[in-house]
Point group: C2
Chain length 226, copies 2
DNA sequence: GACTGGTAGATAGTGAAGCTATCCGCTATC
DNA sequence: GATAGCGGATAGCTTCACTATCTACCAGTC
């Protein structure tokens, strides 16, 4: 197929496809002459993957490229996981400050206690330290025990993910599964958690009447408080 | 204190504080004359909250404002949760397409089966539908059962969160806890999940040798791994 | 009481990100 | 051979989150 059909099949505008080609997210089509090229199913698939990672996963174009580069590399799944994690992790700001050392200590202790084979310097650990430090910063150390409460559940989820992704599939699919599981899975789980928040809060607070978390304003602009 | 000290105490540059004032994220200080004002601890606290939500939680400035508006409102915690969820949810793209109806059906069934008192039209449900639809789009419906696998775990986490946040505190702290628990908690849990991925993957694949998910290329700058 | 330096508020500028539009020479197809 | 579409290059646009500059003013110091 040519570019117009690729655009039609994926819903991505032609100029945007050209942009992705320029940025190296999408491999060029096969040349049929100096200024003509054809595309195939692999391009359709790749474009859908780009849109999924960017729109659903919320990754920047640069991060999508890094993640897809990792998928394309011939490395072992474990290496790919590392590359994906490095790619998707948001940059951590200051690695110091009043509470940083305290937070770092606490994360180090957690890794030790749970016997997790993960390094304190790895990207997710740095994110975790930053999040914990910010709890101290805003004066809510009472909430920091969420760390220890979350840890076993995160481990259970990770076991689910890994089991899910490694069972009976080729290496290609496993690696792609790692990427999708990490990125799309995070979006899914976050949304589920917020849905569960609605439910549990309603139960706990005994909300009985009609409630509606629908998409915002009933007939007004900006504010949704009357 | 005056603006220079507010800046020093929080590490936020003066022009940025002015920007936050303009954007309505920070309440103006108390006037002492037509062009002088003083700030207090509440401003320090608020600024730290802004930075936590923006940097750790990854929210845009507009979303931070919406979230803080919700915190400031005199509504019930349940209403605040709804407002926070509306504020933080990333906009969902197309609400149609080949697989949308299928995904929506599946989410509706899940809500029913688990007895969750949450609406299919609520922001997290829409996000969930979009994520599920993208799995179909990229041809990985084999991974869609993550939905049912994640659900009970999300519920357990939500119970933890709600229990944690409502126990023995004033209404103010509870509401702030809802916000922090939702936003910072998500960052924490995501990081923990990725850390657990490292661990579980290493275990499953029998990785024994030294491995290092450190920040990229060895011998570079930045690294605080030995 | 002049001087120095900080202050509020307004306006304008900056740089990155993610497209979008236009142009050019060429080509496939009717 | 007319015409619609193509690949590739370049330039422009919009949004976001600041950052810089300017003006009029004020507070403390010598």
């Amino acid at each position: 197929m040519r570019m117009a059909e690729l655009s039609r099949r994926t819903g991505v505008p032609v100029p945007t496809i050209k942009y992705y080609l320029r940025e190296g997210l999408l491999l060029p089509g096969e040349r049929t002459s100096p200024n003509q090229a054809i595309y195939d199913e692999s391009h359709v698939r790749r474009l859908r993957m780009i849109r999924a990672l960017a729109e659903v996963g919320g990754l920047s174009i640069a991060k999508v490229r890094d993640v897809l580069d990792a998928v394309d590399s011939p490395d072992e799944p474990f290496e790919v996981l590392g590359a994906v994690q490095r790619s998707i992790e948001p940059p951590v700001g200051a690695t110091d400050g009043e509470h940083w050392a305290q937070a770092r200590e606490r994360v180090a202790k957690l890794l030790l206690e749970r016997g997790w084979r993960a390094k304190i310097g790895s990207p997710p650990a740095q994110t975790l330290i930053a999040a914990l430090a910010s709890l101290y910063d805003v004066g809510r150390e009472d909430l920091t025990d969420l760390l220890e409460r979350y840890a076993p559940m995160a481990e259970k989820i990770a076991e689910t993910d890994v089991e899910r992704v490694t069972r009976g599939q080729g290496i290609e699919d496993t690696i792609e599964g790692v990427v999708i599981g990490t990125v799309i899975g995070e979006t899914m789980f976050g949304a589920l958690r917020r849905l569960a928040h609605q439910h549990v809060t309603a139960m706990t607070l005994g909300v009985v009447e009609e409630y509606d978390f629908g998409p915002g304003t009933a007939g007004g602009s900006g504010s949704h408080l009357e």
